[in-house]
Symmetry: C3
Subunit: 341 residues, 3 copies
C-alpha cells in the first residue's frame, strides 16, 4: 500500500516538529550552503501564473542542493487541464490533471506548482481546486508556490525572518496592515502568515479598511489557533491601533474578498484608500518596530522610501530567507522520500 506523499499546500500540512526542523535546518543551511541532498533529483516547477522571487529562489534552492529543475510555463509548455472527475472531455482541455500529475510524477521527485485562480468568485477560488487536484493525483510531493488561499513558502520565510530579528516569538506583537495599491494581490500571504504567527505564540493585530477583511474561515481557524497558543488576535483595527506597541509591522495590499470578481467596484473603493500607507510616522508608533513586506512593493504608495531603506526594514533579509527556508523544506522532503523508499 502506497503512503501518501508529503504535500505542502498550507503550512498546517507540516507536523509541528517538522516546522521546527525546517527552521533549525534553515539556520544551518544559511551558514553553510554547500550540501548535496538533492543529488540526482529533479524538481518540476509549473507556473500557471508568472513569478520572479518564487521562481528565482526556488530554482536556486534546488541547484544549491545539487538537484535539477525543469520550469514549465502554462502559456508555452502545456495547456488547460481538466479537473472534474468522470467528464466527457470534449471541451477545450486536451488533458486531465489526473494524467498530467501521474506522468510528471514518473519524471520528477517533486512538483512545485503556482496555480492561477480564475478570479470570478471567491467561494469557488477559495477551494484551491487546482492545486488540490495535483496533490490528489501526484505520487510525489506537491509544493504550493501560492494558491488563492495559502502561500506557505512565504510564511516559512516570514517566520524565520521574525525569529532571526526578534529571537523567541511568543509574546511578541505583529501588526499586519493592509496598504493601498492600484493592483492589490492575493490574500494568500496574509492568510499563511496569520496562522504561522499565532501558532508561534505572537499576538496579531490586523488593520484593514471595511470590505478588506481576510477570509472568514481562515479568521475563525486563526482564533482557534490563538486560543490554543494562549495568545490574542484582533481584527479590523485602524492602523494606529494595530501598530501601537508592535514589534513587527507587516505591510500587504490584498484584494477585497467582498468585491472579488467585480473589478469596477473594487477600483472605485480603492481610490478612496490612498492614506493606507506605512511611513516613518506610523513606524514610530511601534515598539522599535521592524518593517516586513513580501514584495513586490510599490514605493511611496504601500511603504515610504524612508521606511523601506531605513534601519527598521527587514525586506531584503526576508526575501533572501525565501531561498534558505525553501532549501530546508526541500532537504526535509528529500529525507522523507528516502525514508519511505
Amino acid at each position: 500500500m502506497q503512503t501518501r506523499p508529503q504535500h505542502l499546500i498550507r503550512l498546517e500540512d507540516l507536523e509541528p516538529g517538522q516546522l521546527e526542523d525546517i527552521l533549525d535546518l534553515t539556520q544551518r543551511l544559511k551558514r553553510r550552503p554547500g550540501r548535496n541532498e538533492l543529488a540526482g533529483r529533479s524538481v518540476g516547477l509549473l507556473f500557471f501564473k508568472g513569478s520572479l522571487r518564487t521562481r528565482a529562489s526556488f530554482e536556486v534552492a534546488v541547484h544549491q542542493l545539487g538537484g535539477h529543475t525543469v520550469e514549465l510555463t502554462a502559456s508555452s509548455d502545456f495547456w488547460q487541464l481538466e479537473e472534474r472527475q468522470g467528464t466527457v472531455m470534449d471541451g477545450a482541455a486536451p488533458e486531465h490533471v489526473r494524467d498530467a500529475a501521474a506522468v510528471l510524477s514518473r519524471y520528477f521527485d517533486a512538483l512545485a506548482i503556482r496555480p492561477s485562480p480564475a478570479g470570478g468568485s471567491w467561494s469557488v477560488d477559495r477551494n484551491d481546486a487546482q492545486i488540490r487536484a495535483w496533490a490528489q493525483h501526484a505520487s510525489v510531493p506537491v509544493v504550493n508556490m501560492e494558491s488563492a488561499l495559502w502561500h506557505p513558502l512565504q510564511a516559512l520565510a516570514d517566520l524565520y525572518t521574525m525569529r532571526e530579528a526578534l529571537g523567541e516569538l511568543a509574546g511578541r506583537r505583529l501588526a499586519l496592515t493592509w496598504v493601498h495599491s492600484p493592483e492589490p494581490v492575493s490574500c494568500s500571504a496574509a492568510h499563511s502568515l496569520l496562522h504561522a504567527a499565532l501558532g508561534a505564540g505572537m499576538e496579531v493585530r490586523i488593520a484593514n479598511p471595511p470590505s478588506y477583511s481576510l477570509d472568514e474561515d481562515v479568521q475563525s481557524e486563526a482564533h482557534e489557533i490563538a486560543q490554543r497558543a494562549g495568545t490574542n488576535l484582533h481584527c479590523g483595527q485602524s492602523q494606529a491601533e494595530a501598530v501601537d506597541g508592535a514589534d513587527v509591522i507587516y505591510a500587504r495590499s490584498w484584494n477585497s474578498l467582498e468585491h472579488y470578481g467585480n473589478p469596477t467596484l473594487a477600483a472605485s473603493h480603492l481610490g478612496r484608500l490612498r492614506d493606507w500607507v506605512v511611513d516613518e510616522q506610523l513606524l514610530s508608533c511601534g515598539r522599535g518596530a521592524r518593517l516586513m513586506h513580501a514584495m513586490p512593493v510599490r514605493r511611496n504608495l504601500e511603504v515610504s522610501d524612508g521606511v523601506l531603506d531605513g534601519p527598521a526594514s527587514l525586506v531584503y533579509q526576508q526575501a533572501e530567507n525565501r531561498l534558505h527556508t525553501q532549501k530546508a523544506l526541500l532537504a526535509l522532503l528529500a529525507g522523507q522520500e528516502s525514508g519511505r523508499a
Copy 2:
C-alpha cells in the same frame, strides 16, 4: 574529412543493432538511474511548438545522465528561419537555418528539435523540410522530437513498453485504432509505431474511418517491412476486426490527411465519428489486450475512464518509458561521439 553525425529523424536512422542496444540499455538504466554519460555535455532543446511530456522527460533524461540542457522556445528566444538555399533574404526571416545550425553546433553536443509544420498541405509538410534542414547543417546529432511524419522517441518508448509487458514481440498482435477527438494530432506517432512494431515481427491491424488512412508512402514501406519480417499488416479495418485477438490496443486520434489544411471539412467529418472510442466492451474483444496511448488523452472520448484506470492500461508505464528510452538513446549518441573524437 568529417563524418556525418548520427541523427535520429526517424527510427530507421538507427542500425538494427543500435535499436537492440538502446532497448537493452533502457532496461539497465531503468533499474540503476545514476550514471554520468553526459558529464560536461550540453544539449540544446528547440521547441518551435510546445510540449509537456517530451520536454519534461527529455530534460530529466539529460540531467540524470549528468548533462545540461538549454531550452529555446521559438516564440521568445529565436525567430523564423530561412530554409531555402541561395535565396536573397529580404523577407521575414532574419537568419538562415544553415547559420543557426552551424552556430548552435559549436555550443551544444546535440540538438533536439520539435519543428512546427505549416499545416497547409500534406504533400509539403510530409517532407519534414525543417528538421531535415537542421540535420543537413548541424555538425552534432539532431534528434527529432516529433515532426509531421515521424515521432521516433515515442516509438522507442512504445516498443520498449510492449516488450516489457509481452516479452518477445514476434507473432504478437497490435491493433492500432483511430479514436475520436475534437482536435486530432499528427500522424507521426502512428507512423513511427507502425514501422517499429512490424520491424519487431508483430502483426499489425489498423482501424480507421474512411479518409483517415495513414500516409501512403509510409504504408507502402510498412508492407515491405512486414514482408521482410515475415508478418502481416492489415489497413482500414473496423475497430471490431482490428481488435479481435489483439495483445495490444493502441488508441490514437490522428488528423485526416485527405482533409489536411481544410479545417472546416475536417471538423464536419469529425462530428460524425464520436463512436470511435476504446471502452471496456472493445477491450474485451482482445486476447487479454493491454491499452496503450501516447497522451495527452481525452477521457471518455478517446478512451473510457474504466479502461484508462483499469488493470489493462499501460499508459503511465509507457509515458515513464519515454524517460528511460531517451536516456539510453542519449548514452548511445554520447558513446558514438566519443568514438568519433
Copy 3:
C-alpha cells in the same frame, strides 16, 4: 564598507590588464573546457528582449564551468520595473529596479541582463538607464548582454577572433562596413568593436551611407582612444575606401540614429541602400581580408553566400568564441568575488 562589484556594462569597465587576462584565459579554456570555477554558483539571466546566440552561449558557458543558470524572461517571469528615484509608484510598474536588483543579488552570484531600449529617442536610449540602474542597485556583478549603446560580450569575442586569425593586432586594418537589411539592429556591437579594435592598436575605417553615422560621443571617444594607441580612425567612408587594404571586413547593419524613433522615414531611406553588401568583389579589395559578422546575417543581402561560405569567413569561429570568451570573463569575475570575500 562594501566594495562595488565588478560590473561589465562596457568593455572599458575592465582594466587593461583584465582584458589581457580574459583573452589569455580564453585560449586556455578553448583547449581544455573542463574546469569548475563556478561550482555551486548561480547566474541569473534576465531577458527583457529575446536572444539566440547570447542566451545559448552564455548558459553553456556557465554550465561548462560547473555553475547553474536561471533564465528569466520579461514577458512571462517578471514585469515592468520602475527606474526613477523617489517616485510615487502608482503607475504600471509594480516593482522598483532597486528592489528587484537587491533581491536577486541575494539569490545569484552574478546577473546577466539584456535590456530592451524603448526605441523612441536616441538621446534617451543612449543613456542605457535600464542596465545602469541594475548596476547601481545590484550587489553582485552585472553583465551587459547588449544595451542600446554597448555590446561588450560581442566585442570580447570579436577581439579574440581577430587575434586568433591575425596574431598581433597593432597596425592591422579593420574595415567596419554598414550593410543593407530591412531590419537593421542596434549600433551596440559596432560601438563596442570600434573602441576595442582601436584600443588594440588597429587602424579602423568605417563605411556607412549618410544618416548612418555611429553615436557622436562614441566616435569622439574613439578618436581619443586612437590617439592614445597611436593609430587612426576614418569615419563615413565609401565601402571601396574602407575596404582597400583591409585585413578584416566586419559587416553590420545598424539603425540610423538620425531616423531613430521614426520607422517610416527609416524604411524609406533603407530602400535606396540595397547596394551596401559585402560580396566577392568587395572582399577582393582587401589584403587577404577575412569576413566577420556578429549574426544573425541576411544572406545575399548583407553578405553574399560566396563570401559567407568561402575560406575568408570567420563567422562561425567568431560565434563559437562567444562561448569561450564568456567563460573566461565568468572565471575572472568568480575569482574577483572570491578575492573580495
